[in-house]
């Protein structure tokens, strides 16, 4: 079909850019490593510790985080027919924050001697997962009772407000040191994931991705609105459930492993819509995957401040780089496509 020809070139460009960004990301860092050494490490002729156990897992994490957040943003924008929706509208991020806040701040308040021991990498991931899962469960239970999709959006936002309030209360009673620890988690981080952690991350991510791909037809039908979709034989409540589960698996695990990463989920689908000028999810989904991964790799490369010893919070970079790009695209096209 002419469709596939029309989008072939942009896809080739995106894939090529992704490959370049991937290798660029691995080549850049605080420690300057010659390209030949990196090539040797990647092909197995040398085992440079930094490349194999720090930069490579970090680059993979960036790809998973960027593409996953982009896709869950796309799902939420179509489901809620709202261009401002993102992966965190269902309260996933605030749920994760609550879990982590209770772990770090709550443990500090209770003054437990064990507290310091408790706060390991895995316990953070676990607390974030449990937190976002519980908030999501609450939203899902309510959503089975509510027919209106817009109401679910509001309910998600309300749960978000409640959890943020609890986090505020906890912060108020916490020591400066604990607070700092919590804020550092909130900056987001793509690094320090071991290969084992990355494996589990990828597993859950893949499950969410498969559900997203399975929803492509339903998402396209939903472009007509729920009533039309129903008249086309779509099982709305079932599709809605699958889309919400897919989003929570993607956004939930990403938040658990990398912290609440702002902006990507909201912005990437808009960037792709502006570039591809279509709302067909068969095109959008793979394009969002590639674009999300590319943008995240670039943001991470910048956050590393190559050749310097500093690493900036990834959360700040995604907004600093991403927001102007979206503004520029919208001003240039003068139209909010959806």
């Amino acid at each position: 079909m002419s469709d596939q020809k029309k989008y072939k070139l942009p896809f080739i460009v995106l894939v090529a850019t992704l490959i370049v960004c991937f290798f660029g990301n691995i080549s850049l860092g605080s420690v300057s490593i010659p390209v030949s050494e990196i090539a040797k490490s990647l092909t197995g002729f040398s085992d440079n510790y930094i490349v194999l156990h720090y930069r490579l897992p970090k680059a993979f994490t960036a790809i998973l985080v960027g593409s996953g957040l982009g896709i869950s943003g796309l799902l939420m924008q179509t489901l809620f027919r709202n261009p401002l929706a993102g992966p965190f509208v269902l309260g996933i991020s605030s749920g994760a924050s609550l879990g982590v806040a209770i772990l770090i701040l709550g443990a500090g308040i209770s003054g437990s001697a064990l507290a310091a021991l408790l706060i390991s990498k895995w316990s953070l991931v676990l607390a974030a997962s449990i937190g976002s899962f519980l908030v999501l469960l609450a939203v899902l239970v309510v959503s089975t009772k509510v027919r209106d999709t817009m109401a679910i959006l509001i309910i998600g936002l309300m749960f978000g407000s409640i959890t943020s309030a609890v986090v505020s209360v906890l912060s108020y009673f916490s020591s400066a040191q604990k607070l700092q620890q919590y804020i550092f988690w909130g900056f987001g981080s793509l690094g320090n994931l071991s290969w084992n952690e990355l494996f589990i991350f990828t597993l859950i991510y893949a499950f969410g991705l498969v559900l997203s791909i399975a929803s492509i037809k339903a998402l396209n039908t939903l472009l007509l609105g729920e009533n039309y979709a129903k008249s086309l034989g779509l099982n709305i409540s079932q599709s809605r459930f699958i889309i919400i589960i897919a989003t929570s698996l993607l956004a939930g695990t990403i938040t658990a492993f990398a912290g609440p990463i702002a902006f990507i989920g909201l912005a990437i689908p808009h960037m792709v819509r502006q570039l591809f000028i279509t709302s067909n999810h068969k095109i959008l989904l793979p394009a969002v995957f590639l674009m999300g991964a590319i943008v995240m790799l670039i943001c991470d490369s910048i956050a590393q401040l190559p050749t310097s010893d500093y690493t900036l919070p990834i959360n700040a970079i995604t907004s600093l780089i991403g927001a102007p790009v979206v503004i520029w695209l919208l001003v240039r096209k003068r139209k909010m496509l959806f």
Binding site: T221, L223, Y228, S231, G233, N235, K282
Partner: protein, 264 residues
């Protein structure tokens, strides 16, 4: 008498429509017995708030009847799944599509969803059906335009083309002529007339354009406070049904011209 041999597409049996909230029932209209045959163009008219939309919502399985049954192509609605129903009934609603960032072709092609595979790929057969629908509604030149570029009249034709592409023998339209100017109101209704004759589809629409409907429809369903009655426009006029449609202080039905006149 070829008319009686025509296949019955939609039939209601002692249908009562309305809303059930907990144990309290609000009956909007009862004892509705209508029969729609193949290739007919049927206009549903009645005053604002009389329950036209409730009737259409009940006929399209958006809400449940309080009593009685709706039978489409010989199968009761209650026993039809939404997917099965989508192959025998397509709709044009008053609401606009949620996203207008679709080309006309893409939007019309969404009408093929009940027939396509899990990812929604169009077969050659699907494409030719979509092309035919574009041709039948005279919107082929708009094929590659985005829906946000279209006028209201053009968009309405696109939504009708989408319903055609769904390849059902019954199309139900909820007020397809609202927001259109006089020319386009006539244009859309004449188009529906042409489609019902050319394709043999049964087309039911609700409208406030009683004057146009009287001229174009094979049959009309008139909803008033006392009854729901369906017959040919001529018979309805001679029975004086239209006189009871509205309070008589403002407008009156003139039987000679078959239209409403403002009282001087």
């Amino acid at each position: 008498m070829t008319k009686t041999a025509q296949h019955t597409v939609l039939k209601t049996e002692n249908l009562t429509i309305g809303y059930a909230l907990k144990k309290q029932q609000t009956v909007i209209a009862s004892n509705i017995n209508i029969t729609l045959k193949q290739g007919e163009l049927i206009g549903l008219v009645g005053a604002n708030g009389i329950g036209k939309s409730t009737l259409l919502r009940t006929l399209t399985k958006v809400q449940q009847p309080l009593n009685g049954a709706v039978v489409i192509n010989g199968v009761s609605l209650a026993e039809t799944s939404y997917l099965e129903l989508s192959k025998s009934l397509s709709v044009v609603l008053t609401e606009q599509p949620a996203s207008k960032n679709l080309t006309v072709f893409e939007l019309v092609a969404l009408g093929r969803q009940p027939y396509t595979n899990w990812v929604g790929n169009l077969s050659n057969n699907d494409i030719s059906i979509v092309e035919k629908a574009l041709l039948q509604t005279n919107i082929q030149p708009l094929k590659n335009k985005k829906c946000y570029e279209l006028s209201d009249g053009q968009l309405q034709k696109v939504m009708i083309a989408r319903a055609l592409a769904q390849d059902t023998n019954l199309i139900i339209l909820d007020e397809p002529t609202t927001h259109l100017d006089m020319y386009h109101k006539a244009y859309i209704l004449k188009l529906l007339k042409k489609l019902s004759k050319e394709t043999g589809k049964t087309i039911l629409f609700s409208s406030h354009e009683i004057n146009l409907a009287i001229q174009l429809c094979d049959k009309m369903i008139v909803m008033s406070h006392s009854q729901v009655i369906s017959n040919t426009p001529c018979n309805l006029i001679s029975k004086g049904v239209f006189n009871e449609l509205f309070p008589e202080d403002m407008i009156a039905f003139d039987e000679k011209t078959g239209s409403f006149r403002v009282k001087q």
